[in-house]
């Protein structure tokens, strides 16, 4: 029997909701229903961080807090979570005192969001560098201060250890029950197992799957789409599993960017660098690798790298599973090799051979929290080069002609790029720029392969969190 409610923790107390409009966001719930107006709306699309709240989860038995954008969190994602908002801190939290002391607020509208991001950082009880704090705050925009005092305050607050917290109350909310609220016309479903997911999705193939909602949330808040039937993936146990084996990674489609960070970093430092530049801490705490693939976006950042690494994916429909190369999943703009009722279940990423070299780059107008103009990944392996790009075609795409032409030398390969790709011009970059930087990235990758240090090839080394 499915449970017909969602439960989450507020101020140490469980809250049970039985009547939840599927498309309701956490921000509207807080501001309009609960009249908790400390959490602000600056953009309603996950980009400014003014709506940041802390989300507590039990992971491997431990309580962890992550910052999320309340404006694009749907209520259905919250089951089994703890929600902490700025009102729940007492005003004297080390982060709050430090922000006041360092004159880190001017208009103050961004401040609650910063407080909550920094609250989650503070909970980690780890030392940080300035670059590390910068990176942690990429999802919080401030138009007034210029950030310097905010980062100073953060660094100071981190000197005070966090108060001990009890995970018991939240642990008590974890269960393995499927959730179903509503009726066939309009519902929130949150299956707890892969089998339940397969079953309900097969029954409602036109329902919308929601993983982290970092895309789906915007369909609701910006495109004003009506999505009455939502199936949430974040409680499907098997989809959250990540296995790091000798041959490679096995990643459940529901694994978030954040959860994948360690394994990706171990794969290659450029995978960590790439990950850090996807969205922000908030986006990475919610967004999933599966979602980044399944959405079929031509400017998704993990597919080019995963294609270059030779990743495959597993799809499931009902009780049937199949596996295919990731590069074959993307057919055309907005079209993937996925049947109605079928979903992405796992991603397999082989390890990089010690003799191979791997390079991944993201080019965007702003370094942090921006969408790629061009994203390029280069894998020079014993069995030949594998090169893939995002932002260059209607899908993430392998540069097969370029790969082949490399045997004839650099000039031939550079010329072949124009045969592989005819990129578009848009507000992020012109077609000419895209092609030219794609070529530049190939040159760089080769120079780096041949031994030129990153400090000589990349301008952005200075901003990076030290690996």
């Amino acid at each position: 029997m499915a449970r017909a409610c969602i439960r989450f923790l507020r101020n140490g107390e469980p809250v049970t909701l039985t009547d939840v409009p599927p498309m309701q966001t956490l921000l509207d719930y807080l501001r309009l229903t609960q009249r908790k107006t400390g959490t602000k709306e600056g953009c309603n699309e996950g980009d400014c961080g003014a709506c940041t709240v802390a989300l507590g989860s039990i992971r491997n038995g431990a309580l962890v807090y992550e910052p999320v954008n309340a404006c694009i969190q749907l209520m259905g994602q919250l089951d089994g979570k703890e929600i902490i908002t700025v009102e729940d801190l007492d005003g004297n939290h080390p982060v709050q005192t430090a922000l006041v002391k360092h004159h880190a607020s001017q208009c103050g509208f961004c401040t609650p969001g910063f407080v909550m991001s920094l609250f989650t950082l503070h909970e980690k009880a780890a030392k940080q560098t300035r670059a590390g704090v910068n990176e942690y705050l990429a999802g919080n925009l401030c138009r007034c201060t210029g950030y310097r005092p905010i980062v100073d305050a953060a660094l100071e607050a981190l000197n005070t250890p966090p108060a001990p917290r009890d995970a018991a109350a939240l642990a008590a909310l974890q269960d393995a029950q499927d959730i179903f609220i509503g009726d066939d016309e309009s519902f929130i479903a949150s299956p707890a197992s892969l089998d339940s997911l397969a079953e309900i999705y097969e029954s409602f193939p036109d329902a919308t799957l929601v993983a982290g909602a970092t895309d789906v949330g915007l369909w609701i808040t910006k495109q004003m789409r009506t999505l009455p039937r939502l199936i949430f993936l974040n409680r499907v146990r098997e989809l959250q599993a990540l296995h790091d084996g000798p041959d490679g990674l096995e990643i459940g489609a529901g694994v978030t960017y954040e959860q994948a960070e360690e394994a990706f970093s171990a794969l290659h430092p450029d995978m960590a660098r790439l990950l850090w530049r996807i969205g922000s801490k908030q986006v990475r705490a919610s967004g999933t690798i599966g979602g980044n693939i399944a959405n079929g976006s031509p400017i998704g950042d993990t597919p080019p790298a995963l294609i270059a690494l030779g990743a495959t994916i597993e799809l499931r429909k009902g009780s049937h599973t199949r596996r295919l190369k990731l590069e074959d999943f993307f057919i055309a703009y907005g079209k993937q090799d996925r049947q109605p009722g079928e979903f992405v279940s796992r991603i397999f990423v082989p390890k990089i051979n010690a003799k191979a070299s791997f390079h991944a780059y993201k080019i965007s107008k702003r370094f942090d929290q921006d969408i790629s103009a061009v994203c390029g990944a280069f894998h020079f392996a014993a069995d030949g080069p594998r090169i893939a790009f995002g932002g260059m075609a209607a899908t993430p795409k392998r540069a097969r002609k370029t790969e082949a032409a490399l045997a004839q030398g650099l000039e031939a390969a550079l010329a072949a790029l124009a045969e592989d790709f005819t990129p578009l011009s848009d507000m992020r970059a012109s077609a000419e720029y895209r092609l030219e930087t794609a070529r530049a990235l190939l040159k760089k990758a080769l120079m780096e392969r041949d031994g030129l240090a990153l400090t000589q090839t990349r301008v952005l080394a200075a901003r990076e969190v030290v690996l």
């Binding site: 709306e41 006041v100 208009c107 509208f109 910068n134 007034c144 965007s364 103009a373 507000m427």
Partner: protein
């Protein structure tokens, strides 16, 4: 709450006290308009526009589906407006709702009024609108071809610039572009109208100009100004975007209240805000200069061609200020500074921190770089050689520069930033580095303080002393994060010699201080601080006289300090004196008024002294660029900025750093992209990129110039600080230009602003050819 009261601290003007709302900012309890608990039955608004077209006649506007959407109460159109359909700051050319034609993409045609904001937003998309679309003029070139302006051209002249340039030993001719900028205040435009009896209304508006909102609403409703009260406790950022352009949203909320009798709230969605409200003006600058081998300018001839959008808005003042600052700190013996205010079918551009000044200054600094490249001199030497000095001290508009400290500021920053040594090291680095190139630049700022529309240089304040010794202060200035309220409270606390916490700051409202000027032109503290000081002094004088009588001493012997009133060996608390004065029937409330003295400006003759004084500063920035991709990072920034005798060093530092970073965004990552149909393609933070934390240089050193105080008699000899720091960021643009220039030292890089990676790469490629 603490049980034991903390000892009171005497933090008057000059001290780094926290922003008055800092504790509430971090607690989430500072109230913005959307946080106010709405009166029961409040309706919510969402404007609607033609999705596809930019300009043309409205052939059809079918709102049936909108009206039928569940939750919709009514739909407002131009026909509902009882008064005048205009929300312009004066010219009468900005309809609240378009009636027969639209002139730009995103122009509101109707406004949905619904029970919830969501219902209003969803319903707004259901309108069927057909426009007989005409081809919009979008670019400077379109407007030049159509020969369309929103306002007449204007010119400063001295001598015969064309001839002097031709006669000079060296000449340069160049043309480049400077982009616009979206304000991206974190709190979007919002207004809440609340009905009162007898047709009166209270408008909560996030505005830098409550008096204008009051006036726009009254004018639109056809009622007296006195029937409307406009209040603003704080804004979540303004930056000029809420100077003239908050009125439309307040007018629509008021119209809904007028029509439904219910309170009404309009909060623009972020995308709508970016599409429907104006931005910093963007320019094409065509210029020529003549100079000698030492880099000294003999004549300048520049044409400042700005895109103003569809209406006048504040374009006169903005473009005038571009002209006023196209000299920055440099003397041009002969000159022609010509400005065109072009009409384009894009949203009307408006005030933005610096108010046109930054664009003029970018031109001046690009010219310095160009001269340096052509003469082979270091650009800093070219700058110094052209600074205003004795005998060469008259600006293009006739004002004599009498307070110049740029030579001193520059010398000190040159030393503390290690400019020469680093410039040399960079040359070595660039010679050895194949892909990455560095650049460094030290640029000055001289910014004129005062509204150039003389009538705006006035302010009023209202101060009440209560019998327990607590004080309320109110003034015409608004708080947008710049710390104005804090500074004014510090000033009042100083005048009374009482602890800052005894001074209560109250929301700016038109029923306390009327007929105010916008909080703009960096003049907020100068004007309102002085007015509040005068109000406080009036009361203090009355109290002093009363104390003198009580103690039988002369009023001038009375001192107000540390919460006490003292004379010789007598003393009593400020509160006791207030109480005693009230019993003696002495008025404990006063208004204060201030009008800036000694400024005059004859616009027809283009001559006068429009500025009370200048604010100065300089910045040295170093960048690294990637010549293969155009990516860029700012390595280090050193700033030395003059705020006179600071009213609050911490707040001033915040203005300087924040302004710098905002200026840096304008000149680097913030790119407004309009397509050929006149649609803004970058109308969300996903596509319009303001700086985030990692864009701030990791090595960022900001210092206040040790000043003996403003030479002009400003409040406590402080200087305005809101806008000038934005222009310190021009050093970043120039440093990028230097880095690109290293590829071919003889050529001026064709680098437009913003210097996005794509722009930088394009400039790099041009250097090779």
């Amino acid at each position: 709450m603490d049980a034991t009261p903390k000892p009171k601290k005497f933090i008057g003007a000059g001290h780094s006290t926290s922003h008055d709302s800092a504790a509430r900012h971090v607690a989430g309890s500072a109230t913005y308009i959307d946080d106010i608990r709405e009166p029961e039955g409040t309706v919510h608004l969402a404007p609607g526009y033609a999705a596809k077209a930019a300009c043309g006649r409205i052939a059809k506007c079918d709102l049936q589906a909108v009206r039928n959407y569940p939750g919709v109460v009514t739909v407002l159109t131009a026909a509902d407006i009882p008064g005048v359909n205009d929300c312009s700051p004066g010219a009468g050319d900005d309809p609240v709702l378009a009636q027969t034609h639209i002139t730009f993409h995103g122009q509101p045609i109707f406004c949905v009024v619904a029970e919830t904001r969501l219902a209003a937003r969803r319903a707004a998309r259901l309108a069927i609108i057909e426009i007989e679309a005409e081809k919009p003029n979008v670019t400077v070139e379109d407007a030049l071809a159509a020969n369309k302006d929103v306002l007449p051209s204007y010119q400063f002249k001295r001598g015969d610039a064309a001839k002097a340039i031709a006669d000079a030993p060296h000449q340069i001719t160049d043309s480049f572009r400077i982009g616009g900028q979206e304000h991206f205040y974190l709190e979007g435009q919002i207004a809440l109208a609340i009905p009162r009896e007898n047709g009166e209304m209270l408008i909560h508006s996030s505005t830098q100009h409550p008096s204008e909102v009051q006036h726009v609403v009254a004018h639109m409703l056809g009622v007296a100004d006195a029937a409307i009260t406009c209040e603003c406790r704080r804004m979540g950022g303004g930056f000029g975007g809420k100077e003239s352009q908050a009125g439309q949203w307040a007018a629509l909320a008021a119209l809904a209240t007028y029509k439904t009798g219910r309170a009404a709230k309009l909060r623009l969605d972020r995308d709508d805000d970016m599409i429907m409200t104006g931005k910093r003006h963007d320019f094409r600058v065509d210029w020529q200069a003549g100079f000698d081998a030492s880099g000294r300018i003999q004549a300048v001839d520049t044409q400042l061609l700005s895109r103003c959008g569809v209406s006048a808005d504040l374009s006169q003042g903005v473009n005038d200020r571009t002209m006023f600052h196209s000299d920055n700190g440099y003397f041009y013996p002969e000159l022609s500074i010509f400005s065109r205010r072009l009409h384009t079918n894009t949203v009307s551009n408006t005030a933005f921190r610096g108010f046109g000044g930054p664009q003029g200054m970018v031109f001046a600094e690009r010219m310095m770089e160009a001269i340096a490249i052509q003469t082979g001199l270091d650009p800093l030497d070219v700058r110094k050689r052209n600074y205003y000095t004795k005998g060469r001290d008259v600006t293009p508009y006739g004002q004599k520069v009498v307070d110049n400290i740029l030579p001193e500021i520059t010398a000190e920053l040159e030393r503390t930033s290690d400019y020469r040594k680093r410039a040399k090291a960079i040359k070595t680095f660039n010679d050895q580095s194949p892909i990455l190139k560095k650049g460094i630049a030290l640029t000055p700022v001289k910014f004129g303080i005062s509204f150039t529309l003389a009538s705006l240089n006035q302010a009023g304040a209202l101060v009440h002393v209560y019998t327990d010794g607590s004080v309320q202060v109110n003034h015409g200035g608004t708080e947008m994060g710049q710390g104005l309220y804090t500074k004014v409270a510090q000033i009042v606390a100083s005048e009374f010699g009482i602890p800052l916490e005894d001074v209560r700051i109250t929301a700016t409202t038109t029923d306390k201080v009327p007929n105010t000027s916008p909080t703009a032109a960096s003049a907020g503290a100068d004007l309102n601080g002085m007015a509040a000081s005068r109000a406080a002094i009036t009361i203090r004088d009355r109290l002093g006289e009363h104390a003198a009588k009580l103690w039988d001493v002369l009023p001038k012997q009375i001192r107000f300090e540390e919460g006490q009133v003292k004379a010789a060996r007598k003393s009593m608390s400020f509160a006791a004196l207030a109480k005693s004065a009230q019993l003696a029937r002495i008025q404990l409330s006063a208004t204060g008024f201030y009008a800036t003295p000694d400024i005059h400006w004859d616009r027809a003759k283009a001559h006068g002294s429009p500025f009370f004084y200048f604010a100065y500063g300089a910045a040295c920035s170093q960048v690294t660029i990637d010549t293969l991709t155009g990516e860029m990072t700012v390595d280090r920034v050193d700033i030395l900025h003059d705020v006179g005798k600071s009213l609050n060093p911490a707040i001033d530092l915040g203005q300087i750093e924040g302004g710098f970073v905002q200026g840096m965004g304008w000149l680097t990552t913030e790119e407004l992209v309009y397509d050929a149909q006149g649609k803004l393609r970058t109308h969300a933070p996903s596509t319009y990129k303001i700086p985030c934390a990692s864009d701030v240089p990791s090595d960022f050193r900001t210092k206040l110039w040790k000043s003996d105080g403003n030479k002009s008699p400003t409040i406590f000899r402080s200087k305005a600080v809101g806008e000038p720091p934005v222009m310190l960021a021009i050093s970043v643009y120039c440093a990028i230009l230097r880095a690109v220039g290293s590829l071919n030292p003889a050529k001026l890089p064709p680098l437009d602003a913003p210097a996005t990676p794509e722009m930088i790469l394009r400039a790099c490629r041009a250097m090779e050819s």
